[in-house]
């Protein structure tokens, strides 16, 4: 029984089918990545999973329950948390306020305080800048904040949409290090990335998407070696 099970998911924008009947599953504790070119429909899938975008067809079940049509603010309370593309931090709120908003739905204030400590251990930069408005952070720091804020929601399934987007290589490596660490602490992760190599190296399983459909699926290691993947997404000549 997977934590997340998606069957025949379709997402439409007006007459356009952005996601054309996708099946995928993520088991408890897995780090699964979804790679594909720009506009393949990866973000649309994540939006449909977390209730930001209605699905046109198909079923999504999370922790054994159907969640089609459940608004995102309720899903967060059950541990399904999205870090959106472009980070979505509240620029006019302080870093501390952003982190507090991550824990908005929680009532266990003692544990929230402990999680905040842990967060500051994970991201010392955020602790240094806690009183600063989040809009003044650098891109990498903002991504750290977005991750930290999501962790404050106490996620069971974390959906990450392009966490490496627009970041310098050094920062990308740092972000992936954090993602691995979060996964090693037992959080299930579905990672959407354009940086296919980094994503495949971090994940245990992967799906490859092309214009709205899943074209390949399997172990991340196998896909990393697959000539079709190497050619299309890793920028290598086919052997």
């Amino acid at each position: 029984m997977s934590l997340l099970e998606v069957k025949g998911l379709e997402v439409r924008y007006g007459g356009i089918r952005a996601v054309k009947g996708v099946d995928l599953a993520v088991g408890e504790g897995e780090l699964v990545c979804l790679i594909g070119a720009n506009g393949a429909g990866k973000t649309s899938i994540l939006k449909a999973l977390c209730g930001m975008q209605p699905s046109a067809a198909g079923t999504v079940s999370y922790a054994g329950k159907p969640i089609n049509g459940v608004p995102s603010f309720r899903l967060v309370r059950d541990g399904l948390v999205l870090v959106p593309e472009g980070r979505g931090i509240f620029g006019q709120l302080t870093v501390a306020e952003n982190l507090a908003m991550g824990a908005f739905a929680r009532n266990d204030s003692g544990e929230v305080a402990r999680d905040l400590k842990r967060m500051q251990g994970l991201f010392p930069r955020l602790a240094e800048r806690s009183g600063q408005s989040a809009g003044t952070l650098s891109g990498g720091e903002q991504q750290m904040l977005a991750l930290g804020r999501a962790l404050m929601s106490k996620p069971r399934l974390l959906l990450l949409d392009e966490p490496s987007m627009g970041l310098a290589p050094l920062m990308v490596a740092k972000i992936f290090e954090v993602v691995r660490r979060i996964a090693s602490e037992g959080v299930t992760i579905l990672l959407v990335e354009q940086n296919a190599r980094m994503a495949l190296e971090a994940a245990s399983r992967a799906y490859v998407m092309e214009s709205g459909s899943i074209t390949l699926a399997g172990d991340a290691k196998d896909l990393l070696a697959d000539p079709r993947v190497r050619e299309a997404y890793l920028g290598e000549e086919a052997a």
Partner: protein, 307 residues
């Protein structure tokens, strides 16, 4: 100099009322980018409810101050309920509609509320009972009354309370987060609909108190009293920078002072061609000036071309 000081006092009194009402406009705009043209009507209903209650309570022979406080305490929940209802019934169904639809609806809601008030309270000017004995104090050739002092103190207390709520509590932080990015706020587990409702209800509560203050100050209540007052408060909100809380406070006070000084000096300046009955012109002169030269207002950020 006497006129100046006197008009300054009058202006600050009126300005604090404008500020309190302007906060309602600016909070709603901040969270859903809607100019709630029916907000002025909430002020009117606050005054009307208080008017009725004072009429009922005075024969009971209670302490006048207690009566006014009781009347205010009843006007607040009535206005909160109406504020909630207008959001829930009129604006929420239009959340995803083009921006003009809720704007026109707001004008409709304003007309509906005015005419409901007309049915309940008649079309007459009602003498708002000024049951608190006015005491005047003289300072430097000008007079200030206890009612004026009460209005200013009440306004400051309410504004401070609102600022504390918005900037220092979890609820307030969630409201600001929703105003900045509602979708992401949803991803934090914040119920956006609830935050928007809270915003309307808070603004309505402020409007109710403003209604009692205006009624007590002028001694008159009328079913259309909210229209002009609402427009002026809206002008104040734009002056301060719509969507900006400190801006609404500053804008309200500035507008009140400009209006009072304008009314005080316009006769002298124009050789008595225009009298102080032109007072209402100043609010809109200020509005036009701001829109032409600094559309984002005194403290506002660039708002671009939003309707």
């Amino acid at each position: 100099m006497d006129i100046f000081l006197q008009q300054l006092i009058n202006g600050l009194t009126l300005g604090s009322v404008y500020a309190v009402v302007a906060l309602g406009y600016t909070m709603v705009y901040g969270i859903i980018q809607l100019i709630n043209f029916a907000h002025g009507e909430l002020v009117m209903i606050g005054a009307m409810v208080a008017f009725t209650l004072i009429g009922v309570l005075v024969p009971a022979g209670m302490n006048p101050l207690v009566i006014v406080l009781l009347a205010t305490a009843c006007a607040i929940p009535v206005c909160m309920l109406i504020g909630y209802a207008m959001e829930r019934l009129a604006y929420r169904p239009l959340r995803r509609a083009p921006r003009l639809a809720p704007l026109i609806t707001a004008i409709g809601v304003s007309i509906i509320l005015q005419h409901l008030a007309l049915l309940v309270w008649s079309r007459n000017n009602l003498a708002f009972p000024q049951i608190i004995k006015t005491v005047s104090y003289h300072i430097g050739g000008a007079t200030i009354t206890n009612v004026q002092i009460a209005i200013m103190v009440m306004s400051v207390v309410m504004m401070a309370g609102l600022a504390l709520l918005v900037y220092r509590t979890r609820l307030g932080t969630a409201m600001r987060a929703t105003a900045q990015n509602a979708q992401v706020a949803g991803l934090m587990g914040i119920d956006i609909n609830r935050m928007i409702a809270v915003t309307f209800v808070l603004g309505a509560a402020l409007a109710a108190v403003a209604g009692v203050m205006v009624g007590s100050y002028y001694g008159i209540a009328h079913y259309q009293m909210g229209a002009l007052l609402g427009m002026k408060a809206f002008a104040a909100a734009v002056l301060g920078g719509i969507g900006n809380l400190p801006g609404a406070m500053l804008g309200g006070l500035t507008l009140g002072v400009v209006e009072a000084l304008g009314a005080g000096y316009i006769g002298d300046l124009t050789g008595n061609v225009f009298g102080s009955n032109y007072q209402d012109v100043f609010a809109f002169l200020v509005l036009i000036t701001v829109l032409v030269f600094r559309p984002s207002g005194l403290l506002g950020e660039r708002v671009g071309d939003r309707a």
